[in-house]
Amino acid sequence: MLLVPCPHCGPRNASDLAYVGEARRRPDPAATSPSQWREYLYLRSNPAGLLRETWYCRAGCGRYFVVERDTVSNTFSAPPVPGRKTGRGA
């Protein structure tokens, strides 16, 4: 099982967290088009390589954070970003 680097709790079993998904920007709801909004809802880049993704530390600190993972080696390649505006994923 993957060890996920929570910025607050340290490395934790992936089963302690919820995988939220690819971190992405929410379109401005006042200006968005159906295609933009549905891209935000449903389309994922699914890269073979680096992916910025959101995790939720469900059994730990209860914080959402964004971290970069290499989907080929399944290793986290950049330190996680705690708190602040981190982008959504749902």
Partner: protein
């Protein structure tokens, strides 16, 4: 006591002759000694046949006489597929053969052997495809051929457990290399856990000479004294990301099996080598064994495996088998030395025993035992699982690990061979242990440094220790895989080399295809005996080397794992309200709702409805999700989560709201009350409490971190009681002095705080899920049972009685209130529920707003409507389809349906197509039995009191 094949005491035997164990074999009484395996006890009693093969039902004897023996799966009592050459004999065991009917001796399905040529690879795929209508018949026939033991459905669930461990080093394998590596890692300061799948530590030393056994004892003793946690009868079944190592431990007292989940900083892989069988005609006749099998039987169990032996040897282990057989008094008819170019062609005899062996030089020699020592499979599975791709070395005729992994190290037979006295091998193991400990220390430093709140780490991260181990020599070994005849390659799956040739000729000539098409390597030994021979047969066909063909990828598990071990102990929590003991004492029928256990009814839900509608009832709604919200920006959050308007909710008021996801689909609903200037209490559905908390937090933490709101889940902090019915105000008034219940001051959708029955800090809101005048009382949970009992005592003259979840569901359906997840599904956007008026598109933003704006412009979306069957006696099952009259075209479905005690007729909610979603429309409901009935669409969702006079009273 003397048994036909038991030898006089041997210096290296592991049996205790002073302890005789009685057991039964196919119903007949037999005996063995303490320390015997089931298989060695059978062998000692002269039982040469231990099973029938899976497809052809051929008699099979011991082949490897160890954990991997493919022929030695037996039934023990109610436990199927027990590894008889591994499992220790116990007194009273009822052992029986598998795949044998009516008996092991006379198996009628051995007739399969006659039609063998029709049962070749792909047989199932080809034979049972057409005609489709015969599938059920095929299934019945195939079921009688299904291999394996008998599952007893009456067997109680065994006790299983889980353990989480965080060792520095896990060592897989308790042979000499594993023991030495573990000892040296522990001496270097690492916490070490070692798992060995056999009962004894020492690996191949145990079937060697007396001095080998003495060395095994010494190495195990050193490991124990160094502080290594030694797990015997325990298998490392898999290695996953970040060295997450699964160990199936069968030796833990009190449980059938325990799954250890170890987060190893370093993993040392030392499983040794597995002896490979040889492929030739007749190689599955009883009496054909590997050299390891005869050495184990003679040295460990004092069993004479035959009277007259021919030994095919290509290595010192084969030579040692010759010595062991001689010492046991077995006549050596011939030693066929493959290193000198000698070879065998076929084993002849009956299906029950080998009787002669045909040699390459043309001789045919009589014998009842044919021993082969043709080389090894390197069980590199754990290295493969870590991403390594082992290389085949044709000079040594086996695979070796590549040493390319940082957190997984191999030693022992996977790394090379020792010199003649074995010292270089133990040296390599010691270096491996020390390297593992040094690297584990760096990993520990990293983990601690990455934990922000951990104690500060000492100093800089140490440099990553380089692998400076001296490489082990590799002994040359002849490449012996198949004689010039064809024989069995996979004993578990009854796949012969001829089957592989046929499959390759059909085009399945890639190793991964060949494996799946023929099922070779897919049986209980998971390729340990079969993979390399399969590859070799294919390589020969394709004119390539074994390295060029490559192996199949070895995935978890290393060895089969029981489902019980995976399930472990069930940790799913059960939640109950503080009133639950009262419910149980008063005849409540329980219902499981998510994690909660709550009263469904107290005997007669219809009567509970009538009592509540005519008098007063109380119900325990503690599972209702509750969130405490505090801070100046709570209105901003509420306005964002709910579709409606929340910026101006006055203190003392509650409001109903619907939440949607960003896709506009209904996520949850409930009421939220404003208790104070900056203090709110939100209720959610029982199952949605967790989701709503995480949903709200996600907005606060990602899009709007500037909002000053603090969320606290308080579901369990309150016991929630709904007091409903015309007399509810009268009843509640008797229990409170400081809440003014006067309808003028405490109107519908208002909230008050105060003491109820002497319990302070209760929150009371006046809402009406049941459609009656009702008060929902949230009591600090410690006082919940007290308030519940006080309500019952105070309302005796009013006829107060409890009602359960079912009565509540009936009443809400009479009132037309939908339930999220019951009347809505994963595609139901808010406008479908008829609550379009609660969608405030003039708000600048809220969750799902763009999608809802577009949805409101879609008149074709389904509508949630109230329906009544024209025949009042009809109560359609929930999920019945609504179809276009005279056709099967689906127009919708019934989402809720009950017999209404109040109206005396069937009532429903349903989602229907827009074209029929108008009052008075008649739709066709197709009942579960296929019958079609008419139902009429109502104007309102409410079947009862649509004006709401009762709840506003």
């Amino acid at each position: 006591m003397s048994l036909p094949s038991r030898l006089p005491p041997q210096p290296t035997e592991v049996i205790d002759r002073s302890r005789v164990l009685e057991f039964s074999w196919n119903g007949r009484p037999l005996t063995g000694f303490d320390g015997d395996t089931i298989a060695s006890a059978l062998a000692a009693s002269g039982k040469g046949i231990v099973s029938r093969s899976m497809k052809y039902h051929r008699p099979r004897g011991l082949l490897t006489a160890d954990y991997w023996d493919p022929n030695a799966l037996v039934q023990v009592g109610d436990e199927p597929n027990v590894r008889a050459a591994h499992r220790r004999l116990e007194a009273g065991m009822r052992v029986s053969a598998q795949n044998a009917w009516p008996s092991l001796e006379r198996d009628v399905r051995a007739a399969n052997g006659l039609v063998q040529r029709f049962l070749t690879a792909g047989f199932y795929y080809k034979t049972f495809i057409r005609p489709r209508r015969l599938w059920p018949a095929y299934e019945k026939v195939l079921a009688t051929f299904a291999p394996g033991g008998r599952v007893d459905l009456q067997t109680p669930h065994g006790r299983h457990d889980k353990r989480y461990a965080h060792p520095d080093v896990v060592v897989a394998g308790g042979g000499p290399a594993g023991l030495v590596a573990a000892t040296h890692a522990a001496r270097a300061g690492a916490r070490v856990m070692l798992a060995e799948h056999e009962y004894r530590l020492g690996g191949h030393l145990l079937w060697g000479e007396a001095q080998d056994v003495a060395l095994a004892v010494r190495l195990a003793d050193e490991a124990a004294r160094a502080g290594v946690e030694l797990l015997t009868d325990s298998t490392v079944t898999g290695r996953y990301e970040d060295n997450w190592v699964a160990i199936a431990q069968r030796s833990h007292p009190g449980v059938a099996e325990r799954l250890i989940k170890a987060r190893a900083k370093m993993l040392v892989v030392a499983p040794g080598l597995v002896e490979r069988p040889y492929v030739f005609a007749g190689n599955d006749r009883p009496g054909v064994m590997t050299s390891g099998a005869v050495r184990r039987l003679v040295r460990m169990y004092a069993v004479k495996p035959g009277e007259r032996a021919v030994v095919l040897t290509a290595n010192p282990d084969g030579d040692a088998a010759v010595a062991a057989l001689r010492a046991a008094g077995v006549e050596i008819v011939a030693v066929v030395d493959a290193r000198a170019g000698e070879g065998i062609v076929a084993a002849h005899g009956t299906a029950r025993r080998v009787e002669a062996v045909e040699l390459e030089d043309g001789r045919t020699l009589p014998c009842d035992l044919l021993v082969t020592a043709v080389g090894w499979t390197a069980p590199t599975s754990l290295l493969n699982m870590a991403g390594d791709r082992p290389d085949f070395d044709p000079t040594s005729a086996r695979f070796f690990g590549s040493d390319a992994l940082e957190h997984v190290l191999a030693t022992g037979g996977l790394a090379g061979d020792g010199d003649s006295d074995g010292h270089s091998l133990l040296d390599h193991a010691a270096q491996t242990g020390r390297l593992a400990a040094a690297r584990a220390a760096v990993v520990a430093h990293r983990l601690q440094a990455r934990t922000a709140h951990a104690a500060a780490v000492d100093g800089e991260e140490p440099p990553w220790p380089a692998d400076t181990r001296s490489a082990l020599p590799r002994e040359p070994h002849p490449g012996l895989f198949r004689a010039r005849t064809h024989g069995i390659v996979d004993y578990s799956e009854d796949v012969s080399s001829k089957d592989l040739v046929a499959a390759a000729a059909e085009g399945y000539d890639h190793i991964e295809l060949l494996k799946r098409y023929t099922t070779a390597t897919m049986g209980p030994s998971q390729g340990k005996l079969e993979t390399v021979n399969t590859v070799a047969v294919l390589a020969e066909l394709r004119g390539q080397s074994i390295g060029e063909v490559g192996t199949t990828v070895w995935r978890p598990p290393y060895a089969p794992v029981s489902l019980g071990a995976l399930a472990g102990r069930i940790f799913e929590p059960k939640r109950v309200s503080p009133i639950q003991p009262w419910h149980e004492a008063h005849g409540a029928h329980p219902i499981v709702a998510g994690q909660w256990i709550r009263p469904e009814h107290y005997g007669d839900p219809a009567a509970e409805v009538v009592r509540t509608r005519t008098g007063v009832g109380i119900t325990d709604v503690t599972p209702l999700g509750k969130l405490d919200l505090q801070g100046p920006d709570v209105p901003l959050l509420l306005s964002h989560l709910y579709t409606g308007r929340w910026m101006k909710l006055p203190v003392g008021s509650v409001r109903y709201g619907v939440m949607c996801g960003e896709d506009g689909v209904v996520l949850d609903d409930g009421v939220t009350g404003r208790l104070g200037e900056e203090h709110y209490l939100m209720s959610t559905t029982s199952s949605g409490a967790r989701t709503v908390l995480e949903w709200a937090e996600s907005w606060l933490q990602t899009e709007h971190p500037q909002w000053r709101v603090h969320l606290t889940p308080v579901t369990d902090a309150f016991t929630s009681i709904n007091v409903a019915g015309p007399h509810s105000r009268t009843l509640l008034a008797r229990l409170t002095d400081d809440i003014d219940l006067d309808p003028e001051s405490f109107g519908f959708m208002r909230v008050r705080r105060g003491a109820i029955a002497g319990s302070p800090d209760c929150v009371v809101w006046r809402i009406g899920f049941t459609g009656e005048l009702s008060f929902e009382v949230h009591v600090p949970s410690g006082y919940g049972l007290h308030v519940w009992q006080a309500l019952l005592e105070a309302g005796g003259d009013l006829g107060v009685a409890p009602f359960g979840l079912e009565a509540q569901r009936i009443m809400r359906l009479e009132k037309g209130h939908f339930i999220v997840g019951q009347d809505t599904d994963g595609l139901t956007q808010a406008p479908t529920t008829g609550l379009g008026r609660l969608i405030a598109l003039d708000k600048p933003d809220f969750a799902g707003k763009p999608e809802l704006a577009w949805a409101l412009q879609q008149p074709q979306a389904p509508h949630l409507v109230a329906l009544q069957p024209v025949d009042p006696r009809v109560v359609p099952d929930e999920a019945c389809q609504i179809v276009r009259a005279g056709t099967d075209e689906i127009l919708g479905r019934i989402t809720s349906s009950r017999m209404s005690p109040t109206l005396g007729r069937g009532i429903c909610l349903g989602q229907v197509a827009a074209e029929v979603a108008h009052p008075g429309a008649e739709v066709t409901v197709r009942l579960t039995n296929g019958e079609r009935v008419l139902a009429r669409v109502l104007e309102e969702h409410a079947h009862f009191d649509p004006e709401g006079a009762r709840l506003r009273g």
